[in-house]
Symmetry: C2
Subunit: 166 residues, 2 copies
Amino acid sequence: MADKTLDTLFYETLKDIYYAERKGTTALRRLARAAQNPDLKAAFEEHEEESQQQVERLTQLFEMIGKRPRGKTCDAIEGIISEAHEIMEEFKGTTALDAGIVAAAQAVEHYEIARYGTMKSWAQKLGMDDAVTLIDQTLQEEISSDEKLSKLAETVINDAATRSDE
Amino acid sequence: MADKTLDTLFYETLKDIYYAERKGTTALRRLARAAQNPDLKAAFEEHEEESQQQVERLTQLFEMIGKRPRGKTCDAIEGIISEAHEIMEEFKGTTALDAGIVAAAQAVEHYEIARYGTMKSWAQKLGMDDAVTLIDQTLQEEISSDEKLSKLAETVINDAATRSDE
């Protein structure tokens, strides 16, 4: 049996995140539709455009390693999305829906941040400079998107979620 | 039907992270056992002690809101752990095993960072100052643990994973 090294891991994780990114994009679209606050809807829509570019960058990474783009079922994103759907269902029509939606979206973002962070560090070690640049663009977008959601939650969404308590 | 507000979300997410934290601790123990590098094993063991304190802090949070500690199946952590087991199986005995183990552990950490970040922001809004302090202690530990793993990967683990390529 051939030894498996960092390039095997890179390819396996690329298939994982390719699946997760496309599933995550669909999930964020559902969260956007369910969101009540217009700023939150707008934040999701902006991120959706980014996500399409992120998927395009992943196909470029497959090209760089001489493989065809191919996803592999990612149990992690399936679980995260299943919780997102549960929150949308349980909190539908309630004051706290948007706060729950932000939390669900940030769990998606953090999964992607973990994976892109790992892949960037592997690409560096593998000397794949162009791959590092591509992965880092996406990583920075995910971090920025997560920060935007935190800020929106702290300034608007969480206030709205406590309103009927006051 | 009573409206659901931020305190409902806080309670639901507390049950989720209570389940995830305990499952995550068990998963990290398995990753530690599978790890080949002694520094990586040591990092996991150190984090395991922290995790026990983190579970204890969660029981204190339940007390603060007058509830008994109770977990709720967290599909997200189940999916993340299922991928961790897959990596341990697929890369067993190979040069890249430790790099895969670090990646799996960082996915666990990032899930927890997302959830604790959200809960801290909700506790702030709910005026639960003692809860904010407790959650922030855990959040800072998770962030620091994630950074330690990144550093270990970049300085030692990823090198070892490319060795048979050279």
